[in-house]
């Protein structure tokens, strides 16, 4: 686990030291219109970080970025101490740890959050999303509400992966893929990060209209018997999980209203994720048929 104390700004002298360091491995890219730079003091570090960066990234030559991440390895303070890896976002220390993989997890998490929070043209909602027969199923909800378990089971039934944490809506109301690794938790709340590919699922590439919004929360022993709720309640649920609505309410209202206008909105607690996933897909198939 990365020992990641709350991010704090470092002194100007340390910031200058960061700038003077040699950065043989650098990457600038844009994702959802946000410009990001990642640099490492070793090519091997950047190579290990690359698969955890957004899959839709567009490499850029511009050195102008909205946020720059610095990843490096430093020897221990005393001789015999193991080296540690450090991660900075601009001048703020985000994480440090003995394992590179855990520091890269912190990088992945912060890059995704930064994009979702600052993108100007997309509206991001804390929601899982998958595609089924060319239409999107969106599952908004807070962490620990059971989104990822449901997304995983939908993928097991043949759905395409779009997102596990933040779903991206364009002004047209369509959902764009924003696939980070799925964060799966076991009964002891230990988390594992896995790619859709590792689960045997495909990741979607095209923006899709929303067919179904599922408002649900895991409740032990519950049987999923949802009720149909109104479009307005569906939009309200997305707004209540939106990262964008406070700063750009007009844009969020417009995009999310369009997204839900084509969708069926179902609300109710769920029990077993596998049975719920099968039921969701049956409902969607039935809705297609009528």
């Amino acid at each position: 686990m990365a020992a990641s104390a709350p991010a704090r700004q470092v002194s100007k002298s340390f910031s200058a030291k960061l700038e003077r360091m040699a950065w043989p491995a650098t990457l600038q890219f844009t994702s959802f219109g946000v410009r990001i730079g990642v640099r490492a003091d070793d090519n091997a570090i950047l190579e290990q970080a690359l698969p955890c960066l957004p899959s839709n990234l567009r490499p850029s030559r511009s050195v102008q970025v909205d946020r720059r991440y610095s990843l490096f390895r430093a020897e221990g303070a005393a001789s015999g101490d193991a080296p540690a890896y450090f991660l900075y976002a601009d001048r703020r220390k985000l994480a440090q740890g003995r394992q590179l993989s855990t520091v890269i997890e912190a990088l992945e998490s912060d890059v995704n959050f930064h994009i979702a929070r600052t993108s100007q043209r997309w509206v991001f909602v804390h929601a899982g999303a998958v595609a089924w027969k060319g239409q999107a199923i969106v599952i908004p909800g807070a962490s620990f509400s059971g989104k990822s378990a449901l997304v995983k089971e939908l993928l097991a039934h043949g759905a395409e992966y779009y997102s596990d944490e933040f779903s991206a809506f364009y002004a047209s109301g369509r959902v764009h893929p924003f696939p980070r690794r799925l964060c799966l938790r076991d009964d002891q709340k230990c988390q594992t990060l896995v790619t859709a590919k590792e689960l045997g699922a495909k990741t979607g590439t095209r923006p899709l209209p929303v067919a179904l919004v599922i408002i649900t929360r895991y409740k032990p022993n519950a049987v999923w018997r949802p009720r149909v709720v109104s479009t307005g309640e569906g939009v309200l649920e997305l707004l209540g999980n939106s990262l964008t609505a406070r700063s750009r309410p007009t844009q969020a209202l417009a995009a999310l209203s369009k997204a839900v206008s084509t969708a069926l909105v179902l609300d109710g607690p769920r029990g077993d994720a596998k049975a719920t996933a099968a039921s969701i897909l049956r409902i969607l198939d039935w809705a297609h048929a009528v």
Binding site: R117, E233, V235, L236, E237, S242, A245, R246, S261
Partner: protein
């Protein structure tokens, strides 16, 4: 703020709004709350211009009594969507529902509200 004059002239707050098919969404920048108004609540809200009284609203909406309008104004006021309104007694809604009966229940105004989170809250 609530008015306590003899005549109640509810006035809606400035807010961002969007019409859905038969609902209305309202976003209040001051409280960071989003509200979903059903058809009846939305029609009443649109008439809350600070110059139209509740009986006049009922007349404009071609309702035989003021009860539904009063109920909607109460809901809108409690949701913080009105600058001025005079709240009814708590028992009024129950009495109105009883008076209207089941058949009119579909027209009962409804305002659902949600607090829009900060990005950090939304991500947690």
């Amino acid at each position: 703020m609530q008015s306590h004059g003899s005549e109640d002239l509810p006035k809606r707050k400035e807010a961002i709004s969007r019409q859905l098919s038969d609902e209305f969404l309202v976003y209040d920048n001051q409280t960071n709350k989003a509200h979903c108004l059903n058809k009846t609540a939305a029609e009443v809200w649109s008439l809350c211009d600070g110059q139209t009284s509740i009986p006049q609203m009922a007349e404009k909406l071609q309702l035989s009594s003021d009860d539904l309008v009063r109920m909607a104004v109460d809901d809108l006021g409690k949701a913080g969507l009105l600058e001025t309104y005079q709240p009814s007694a708590d028992a009024a809604r129950r009495d109105t529902l009883r008076k209207l009966g089941f058949a009119a229940a579909i027209a009962v105004p409804l305002v659902i509200s949600v607090l829009v989170p900060t990005p950090a809250q939304a991500a947690s």
